[in-house]
Symmetry: D2
Subunit: 367 residues, 4 copies
């Protein structure tokens, strides 16, 4: 069962609410002897951290991570390493303003999970969205950094990169991954990023918000990751990315467009190059029959626009009265921006899980 856990052999369980004392995760199944660099975990969190530009929420959270278990250092280890025991990571919440939410305690914000949590549970920590808040994704980013440590150790040079490739109706034309950290949108197209500033300012000032599409690419993976027929790599990527707050669609390779192609167009032809299979195209996004081909794994996820907006929307209360909702507070005008490091993290976790699963399924071995 997986209410609050993701992955099988590399299993991440997250906990915590937006306005509780802390949030965190427990990583179970991390192999032992993996170099653990807390500064890199912190750096990953810093990328996702709120308050860094006018294009994201102004909530000020240090998002400082503590590691409580699962790592060890003494004079026999080469720095801090994992031990194979569960790794507990915790991030204290520091800038909760619960009073921001008292007004909408009983009013269901359209597009939010308020109404469904009440339908399901009957009780709800409404402060800041409680468990449904995007703050939960901080724990994912921390876990994703650890997954990346494992992938580094296993494969040497796995690179997982993501960027915002469209914001509302505006598309990025380029995929310059080096540009992603050079603009406040995590956009791989520096020119598009420049133009997006005005577009998002306009949306924000008019009490509106914008959706976006995040694209991720993972390179350096071997062929063979994935498990037919219900543990497919693309299936698990779809699950991973759709679990992100506000996600509404996931594409692998050509994605929806693949449904509009012919078989002749869609075939990724093969030739030999340096003794290895060389694919002449990558419509498949690096996955065939649920198993990686060794090409770049390419996925996209659509993030709906922030539901918390200043424009009044019709709604109802928990008591069944009609009302209007205006969501004040500190919100991201385009949550897809800060989804970028989350997408990278979920890709890393999924790929790490499959790398470890792969071991149990193939070949013979000596323990």
């Amino acid at each position: 069962m997986s209410h609050n856990s993701f992955g099988h052999l590399f299993r991440v369980t997250t906990w915590g609410e937006s306005h509780g004392p802390a949030l965190g995760c427990v990583i179970d199944g991390c192999p032992p002897g993996i170099p653990f660099d807390l500064e890199r975990v912190q750096a990953a969190l810093d990328r996702r951290r709120p308050g860094q530009s006018r294009f994201v929420t102004q909530r000020q959270e240090a998002d400082q991570v503590d590691v409580l278990s699962g790592v060890f250092e003494d004079d026999r280890t080469d720095g801090i390493v994992t031990t194979g025991a569960p790794i507990s990571l915790m991030i204290r919440n520091t800038d909760q303003r619960s009073k921001d939410y008292s007004e909408i305690r009983d009013r269901y914000r359209p597009g939010h999970a308020d109404v469904t949590y009440d339908a399901k549970y009957g009780v709800r920590d409404y402060r800041g969205g409680g468990r449904s808040s995007a703050r939960e994704t901080a724990a994912r980013v921390a876990a994703g950094a650890v997954a990346q440590f494992v992938l580094d150790q296993l494969f040497g040079n796995v690179a997982i990169r993501a960027g915002l490739v469209s914001m509302g109706p505006h598309d990025a034309a380029a995929r310059d991954w080096a540009a992603v950290d050079q603009n406040p949108f995590f956009c791989p197209d520096p020119h598009a990023a420049k133009a997006w500033e005005k577009a998002l300012d306009d949306a924000r000032k008019s009490g509106n918000s914008l959706g976006g599409i995040v694209e991720a690419e993972a390179t350096g993976l071997p062929a063979g990751l994935g498990a037919p027929v219900y543990g497919k790599l693309d299936q698990d990527i779809a699950s991973a990315l759709m679990s992100i707050n506000a996600a509404k669609a996931v594409e692998i390779g050509d994605g929806m467009a693949a449904g509009r192609l012919s078989g002749v167009e869609n075939a990724d032809e093969m030739r030999m190059k340096d003794g290895k299979i060389d694919y002449l195209s990558n419509h498949a996004g690096g996955i065939l029959g649920g198993i990686s081909t060794g090409q770049p794994v390419v996925a996209r996820v659509a993030i709906k626009p922030t539901s918390s907006i200043l424009t009044p929307r019709k709604s109802v209360t928990a008591q069944g009265e009609e009302t209007e909702v205006v969501t004040k507070g500190r919100h991201d005008p385009c949550v897809a921006i800060r989804a970028v490091p989350v997408v990278e993290a979920m890709m890393a976790i999924t790929l790490c899980d499959h790398a470890l699963r792969h071991r149990g399924q193939v070949g013979t071995f000596q323990v």
Copy 2:
């Protein structure tokens, strides 16, 4: 772990290869006392059965299902009912022509899993695609029928309908679910279906194939199904639909288009109607925060064009020699057509699983 199983409380494990003696599934977790109608299981299989028009594969399989365990009838039960024990369903293969495949034993068919299965496993039942064949989906359809029995018993009138809403570049304009079984494309638009005949004939005759998009809608579900944050209903639908052979993208509600909307456009406003919440739109596809709202659950899946085509494509052999591949044999010119009943089945299995999961998570009870 879930190599060949799907679901948690309603858990379906499938087995079997395209050209082995049989295929089937074991359903674990079906509640007891559910009326079991073998004819309806067979009817579901008959819809997916090959050889029923010139637009699908000409392989002739009766797809007759046997139930080997988990059901019981005596004078105290009202017909055949489930007992709570695992339900084993088996379908014999009868029209295997293994020699069709000897030619491509060592040649990797572009777009197929040949190359990745070899990379992963080193050994492969190449006959008809072996385990990666769409024949495996017959077992899904049988299990989906049982899931529907459970949903019927739980909720009374859950309707799960799917149809082919685009074939290659051609879109259906209507969603007349009653029309779906009136044309060879499972298309909910009778006019489109008529026009598609020539399009698919052309593709087939020119040695080509077409992709397609299947849309599914489930109505009659209560609010509250789904489990944040990693057991979200939309997450599990994404996993279910992406596990289908040749699937490349999954959308919930507005899907990819949601990434291009503004928050004002995307909000599903609410009013009261007859004492219940009435949504003024359904951009969300019936799911908020991973939990059903009670609106129709809407999902789409893109199916890539059949990779088995008569047009020669560049490829390589298992021995690393360059070659060309022409895939003869009996293939669907548009696999998306026969994916329609499979999409319905995966939706039923996912919703049934979540209905059972819901019980363990809410309220108090008397055993």
Copy 3:
């Protein structure tokens, strides 16, 4: 969830009732390329088969096993090998006599699961115990043979042996594993076995039955199998053996007696021998902290006496009337005898699962 499945990476799902058309199992997670010898599977089943002496049930079942998926042979493979796909094994029931059970359809046989299945499910295939029948264990034995193939491939010379070491109040004095197949009790003490004939005849003739204790020993395993703290090897052995019909206790190493020892007595001291750790005793039964030491793994399971006896016992009916039950039909006078191959199978499955799990947890690797 695990209603009808056991294991994680080597996962066995069984199905079938005593008096249904067939029973079987699906093995998911078996690595590819493992030599598959159907005759050895059949030979394992033949050991468990009923009707082979007057000390077991006289039901005549050929217990012939069919393999329906997951294995393959062509001119490139060295005989039949596994492919990594799920292995479906089926055994037809041939000697059902359902009328034997009509009399006790509504009478709860003391010691049997009749009363609890009714309490749980409300509907029950009462014929021969239905799903609770020991016939289910045939599927375990088949799966255990496959697990042994994997262990052979992984480690070379893992031997898993079991025997009946006490029957009722009578103890075996020796552990001569070679003697186990030389007597009708699977007893490792030939002298005891001789004496047990009269004891069991007496019990049977007086309408009674006897319990027994089965001991298992696995040798040739490496150190390192097992996973703290809730995936301990001894924990999973306890689960495996307690899942066997009529099991009431499981011991590892000294077992219950360990609770009566002092720390000085209980310590398994260590010395070096040929560059390896040499333990001077094995109170621990080869497991410390849930992980194998490399010593023989030793476990015992207590099997209660057959509940189906000819001596009348007080009971009640499903309708709440008081009655007496005499269980006629064909029953084992000591079910612990035929539990011996089942214990071996469950040990093999558990060890195989942990061997595969071990791979995901340790060291670095190249895929």
Copy 4:
């Protein structure tokens, strides 16, 4: 997979090492609306807390528990209640003395997991046993208290009681559960407890330790909990109790003795009483066919003597040198004593998990 998690629908994941900054657990699947009494959680921990008599370790830990997520209180809830979100509980370590362990860093203590953790992981937090320390059981006790809250809410008056029924060779004659908290041994026999003082003083002073047997009884449960054939209640109790540090055997009902009985002796006969089934005995320990009968569930677990003793024992070092080990530090002379609240906790967790599982398996329902 379950390296560090236990349970399925009520799933407890523990983390933390003996000498790390903290330890804790995350409980996933706790139903919403359950009254959460932090003082009762603390009270449960206080019973297990070290340093309370001369018969347990002198380590001084406050074992103060913090709740970090999953509960909520406002003016609409009746006190603090669970929300259905994961409950994170944390206990800070305060009295670590890591230097106590420097001497045995490279010496394998006989009976401890030192040697097997090194064999498995190659790296080890040796301080205080690290992850293999019984300090991990504090997290179990906290989770067990929450499980008890759920059982209270579901069934009203479930009582789970455990006591030390033998210490070394000395047996308790009575089962006076009210006496358990009146003596430093958690012994249900006040007279035995008095006599045990000298026995344990003698063992401790002579540099020795004693094993023990803990018996648990759960009353107030309905019939129907448990799931054949691999989710049996007794199977999961066996798994739960064998997962406790130093456990070597688990018995249900008559346990090992059941293997020595005849069928006539072992039958639990039934009569009607007040319209309900009344069992005339309880050899089965309240479980038939893996499902609860409604009688008291009775289990026992054997705990081996503390391996940390002052008597020198032969051992080897990690470098393969022969040595002798004397384990100084602060250790329990009989770890079975403090295992008593841990046994209660594991029983509560297992029963709570099965109570929630039961809901998904039976009857029809309205969500």
